[in-house]
C-alpha cells in the first residue's frame, strides 16, 4: 500500500504495561490535521484518554497516559528537526503538561514507524520497552533500577550491542517519584518541566529504547528539499545564531542581568552581582571542550565541558544553559561557575528538573534564614545563599528523598503549604510549576504569560519580554515597560503561535530565524496540506483552549491564574535606584484584558461555549 501519510509515518503505538498488550493503529490523518501533530494532536489524545474515564486523572494512577509525540517536520532534512514532546498529567501540578526535547529520540521514533506512542498502565516490576521497528518488547529492568541516566544509557547500549539505539530514561529521582523528575533523552536532553519522569517512575518504566530503519516521506520532495536547503542557508548565515553556536543560551545571562530580569536569591532581586562569572563567554573560556548538536541541526547550540579546578575538578557536564545558570546559580546566590556546573550535572545525572530544583532549594534557604525551618528540619545542612557545598548535597537528598529532600521532592507548592508560616508568599510557582529564570516585575507581560500558560509558570509558551523592553508590537505600537496596556494582546498571540509551532515540532532557536511563514510553507510541502497563517494561528488557539478545558477538568479555576505574592508585594531594585513590584491591580487589569481577548468568561476564566464552538471544540463540556 502506498504510504499516504506524508510528513507523518502513519502509526500510533499503544502499549499497556499492566497486561503487556501492544497495539499499532493507523493515524487518522483528517483528525491529526485539525491539530497539526506534535503538541496539538497529543493534547487531543490526552483528552480522549480522559474522556474515556470521564473524570480527573490521578497522576500516579495507571490510567494516566504518557504520550510521546513527534510532529510532521520531525526527522525531515530541515536543519532543526529533532524535536519531540511528552504529554501527560503532571505529578507536580496535577494539570496538563507538555515537555519538549531535542536530541535524536524523536526522529528515531519516526524511523521506527511511529508518530505517537501512548503508554498506559503500570508494570509490577521495573522494566523497559524495546522498540525495534515493529518488534516491541517489554524487558526486565531490575538490573537498571537505581542507576543514573548515564549508566542506564551505556548499559542498554552494551546490552543490545548497538551504539545507535536511542534511549529515554529516568534516574533515581523518577524512581523515587520526585514530583519534578525528568525524562532524559539521548543522554543530554531533558523533558524535565512538570516532572513526567515521576509518571514513568510510577509505571516502573525505567526506559524506552528505540531503533528504526525506516524513513520519512514528504509530499513534494523536490520542493521540500529545495526550500529546506534555503532555510538551512538562512540558519547558517544568521549572526544571531552564530552567538548561540559560540556561547549557547548562556549568551543572554549578562544581558538579562543588566535588564533586571535575572531572578536572584529566591526572586528577592532581579540582578546578581556575580552574573558575569556565569555567562556564556566565561563558560566557553573556562569549561567547554566540545560543541554538540541535535539531529540534523547546524546551529550546534549545546556544549560539553569539564571542571578544571576546585572540589569538583574532573566533572564532565553539559551546559550551563541560561535557565539553569539562574535557578541553580543566581537564584541560590551561587556565583561560582564550577559549582553551578556541578549542580547542573547532578540534576541531569539523577534525573531532576534543574529549574524546579534550584527554585525549591532557594525557598528552603529563605525559610531557614527566616527561622521557618530549623537546623533539624534542614538535615543539619548549613543552608545559606551561596553555600554551594551544602546546596549540592541537598540536590542528592532530593533525588533520594532523604531528610529535608523528602519535603522538597514534593515541589514548592506542596512543601510551602505543609510548612505554612508565611512561606507560601515566597514559594515562587504558578499552578505548582516553579518559575523559570526570567524576572517579571520588570517585564509584566511575561508575568501575565506565567500566570496563564497551560502547564503553569513557564517561559516557553510566549516570550513577550521584548515588547516590555520596547520592541514594536506586530501592530506597530511601543508599549510602556511597566504598564499594562497592550500586554494581553501580545501575550495571547504569542501563546497561540507557539502552540502551533510546537505541533510541527519547531525548535525555538530556529523559529526566530525562519519565522512562522516559512515554517508553514515547510508544513504544507511536507504534508500536502494547505494551511495559511490565519488558520495556523487559529489552530494554536484551539490547542490552547483544549488544554485549558483539560486543566479545568483537573481542578483549575480562575484563582489559579495568578502570581506568587512576592511579585505583587516585594519590590526589586532597577536602574537609578528605582524600586518596582508588579502591583496586583495592574496584574488583574492585564488578566481581565487577557480573558476578554481570549473570549473566556471574565467571572470564571472558562472558555465560553461560544468560543469552544468557534474553535471546533464543541465536543468539550466544561
Amino acid at each position: 500500500m502506498k504510504n499516504i501519510s506524508k510528513g507523518f509515518v502513519g502509526k500510533i503505538l499503544e502499549i499497556n504495561l499492566s497486561n503487556h498488550k501492544t497495539q499499532i493503529k493507523p493515524i487518522d490523518l483528517e483528525e491529526v490535521k485539525k491539530y497539526i501533530g506534535g503538541k496539538g494532536y497529543a493534547t487531543k489524545l490526552l483528552w480522549d484518554c480522559m474522556v474515556a474515564k470521564n473524570a480527573q486523572i490521578d497522576v500516579l494512577d495507571p490510567a494516566n497516559p504518557l504520550i510521546f509525540a513527534t510532529g510532521p517536520l520531525t526527522g525531515t532534512s530541515l536543519p532543526p528537526s529533532a524535536r519531540a514532546c511528552v504529554v501527560s498529567i503532571s505529578p507536580l501540578t496535577g494539570i496538563y503538561d507538555d515537555s519538549h526535547v531535542g536530541g535524536h529520540f524523536g526522529p528515531e521514533m519516526k524511523f521506527a514507524g511511529y508518530d505517537f506512542i501512548i503508554i498506559k498502565g503500570n508494570l509490577e516490576e521495573p522494566g523497559y520497552i524495546f522498540i525495534n521497528d515493529d518488534k516491541i518488547e517489554i524487558k526486565s529492568a531490575i538490573d537498571l533500577w537505581g542507576k543514573d541516566v548515564y549508566e542506564t544509557d551505556e548499559l542498554l547500549k552494551r546490552k543490545h550491542k548497538d551504539r545507535r539505539i536511542q534511549v529515554a530514561s529516568i534516574g533515581p529521582a523518577g524512581e523515587n517519584l520526585v514530583r519534578y523528575a525528568s525524562i532524559t533523552f539521548s543522554l543530554h536532553h531533558h523533558a524535565a518541566r512538570g516532572g513526567l519522569g515521576a509518571v514513568m517512575g510510577a509505571k516502573k518504566l525505567k526506559a524506552i529504547v528505540v531503533k528504526g530503519t525506516g524513513y520519512i516521506d514528504v509530499n513534494d520532495l523536490a520542493k521540500f528539499e529545495e526550500f529546506s536547503d534555503e532555510c538551512a542557508k538562512s540558519i547558517n548565515a544568521d549572526i544571531n545564531l552564530a552567538t548561540m553556536k559560540k556561547y549557547g543560551t548562556g549568551r543572554s545571562i549578562s544581558w538579562s542581568n543588566n535588564m533586571y530580569l535575572y531572578p536572584t536569591r529566591n526572586y528577592q532581586e532581579a540582578h546578581f552581582e556575580y552574573a558575569d562569572n556565569l555567562n556564556g563567554e566565561k563558560q566557553e573560556e573556562k569549561l567547554w571542550i566540545q560543541t554538540k548538536a541535535c539531529f540534523g541541526c547546524s546551529i550546534h547550540c549545546s556544549h560539553m565541558g569539564i571542571i578544571n579546578e576546585g572540589p569538583y575538578k574532573g566533572t564532565i557536564f553539559k551546559g550551563i544553559e541560561y535557565e539553569v545558570s539562574d535557578l541553580l546559580g543566581a537564584n541560590c546566590g551561587v556565583g561560582d561557575l564550577n559549582a553551578v556546573a556541578y549542580g547542573n550535572m547532578l540534576c541531569d545525572k539523577l534525573g531532576l528538573d534543574a529549574l524546579s530544583t534550584g527554585s525549591i532549594i532557594a525557598w528552603a534557604i529563605e525559610c531557614y534564614q527566616k527561622g521557618i525551618l530549623d537546623k533539624k528540619d534542614v538535615s543539619d545542612l548549613d543552608l545559606k545563599f551561596g553555600n554551594y557545598i551544602d546546596i549540592n548535597k541537598l540536590i542528592r537528598k532530593i533525588a533520594y528523598r532523604q531528610g529535608l529532600g523528602d519535603l522538597l521532592a514534593e515541589g514548592v507548592k506542596r512543601a510551602s503549604k505543609k510548612t505554612g508560616r508565611g512561606s507560601e508568599d515566597f514559594a515562587m510557582h504558578v499552578k505548582g510549576l516553579e518559575l523559570p529564570g526570567w524576572g517579571i516585575r520588570s517585564a509584566p507581560s511575561m508575568g501575565l504569560n506565567y500566570a496563564t500558560t497551560d502547564r503553569g509558570g513557564c517561559h516557553q509558551r510566549a516570550f513577550p519580554i521584548s515588547y516590555d523592553l520596547g520592541a514594536k508590537t506586530p501592530d506597530g505600537k511601543i508599549l510602556d515597560r511597566f504598564g499594562t496596556e497592550g500586554k494581553a494582546k501580545v501575550t495571547k498571540s504569542q501563546q497561540d503561535a507557539t502552540a502551533s509551532l510546537y505541533s510541527l515540532i519547531a525548535c525555538d532557536f530556529s523559529t526566530g530565524t525562519l519565522g512562522t511563514k516559512r515554517l508553514i510553507k515547510l508544513l504544507n510541502l511536507a504534508t500536502g496540506w494547505d494551511y495559511d497563517e490565519k488558520e495556523f494561528i487559529k489552530t494554536g488557539e484551539k490547542i490552547w483552549n483544549l488544554s485549558r478545558v483539560i486543566n479545568f477538568k483537573n481542578g483549575i479555576s480562575k484563582k489559579d491564574d495568578t502570581l506568587p505574592r512576592r511579585i505583587f508585594k516585594d519590590k526589586i531594585s532597577v536602574d537609578y535606584g528605582i524600586k518596582t513590584n508588579l502591583p496586583e491591580e495592574n496584574f488583574i487589569k492585564m488578566l481581565n484584558d487577557y480573558y476578554e481577548k481570549r473570549g473566556w468568561d471574565p467571572k470564571t476564566g472558562k472558555p465560553t461555549p461560544r468560543k469552544l464552538d468557534e474553535l471546533d471544540l464543541g465536543f468539550c463540556e466544561i
Binding site: H104, Y215, A293, I306, K313
Partner: protein
Amino acid sequence: MSHKAILTYPEGCTGCRRCEIACSEHFAGKVQPSISRILILNFSEGLIDIPLVCRQCEVEVPPCWKVCPKNCFSRDKNTSSVTINLEECIGCGKCVKACPIGAIFLNSETHKAYKCELCITENSSLPPCVKACSCNALEYGETPFDASKESTPEKIALSLTKKLIGGIK
C-alpha cells in the same frame, strides 16, 4: 598508490548527523540514517561522536576484499574507492566481519553488503557527506591509511576522551 578518501576528525564532530542525512538522500532520495554509509557513533556519556566510514585502504588487497568468496571487490578507476559488485554479492557477511573498523554493512532487506563509495559526481567534487558537514569533522583528502592497523571507534573514543580530559581527571 596515494589517493583520496574521507578523513575523519572526531574532535570536531557535534553528532548532528547531517552527513548521514546527506548520504541517505544521495543513495535513496530520503532521510533514512539506517542506510547511510557513514555512521555517527556516540561514546563517553555523549562527549565523543565518532564518524565511522570506509577509508578505502591503501593496500593492494584490503581486508574486506581478501575474504570475499565471490571476488566482488574492485578499485574504482576514477576515485580509487573500494567498490562492491552487487550482482555478485551473496550477502555472506564475511567482509563485514573482516573490516577492522566496521565500516561495511549488510542491508537487512536486500542482503547485500554496502559501504562508502566516495560519491564524486560531475556536479560535485566533494562527496555529499563532506559537503554537508559544517563542523570540520570530515575532509575529502589524501592520507596513507591501512585499516588493518587502524583502531576501532571504541578505541579512538577512549584515546580522544583521555586527550580531552587528560591531566584533569
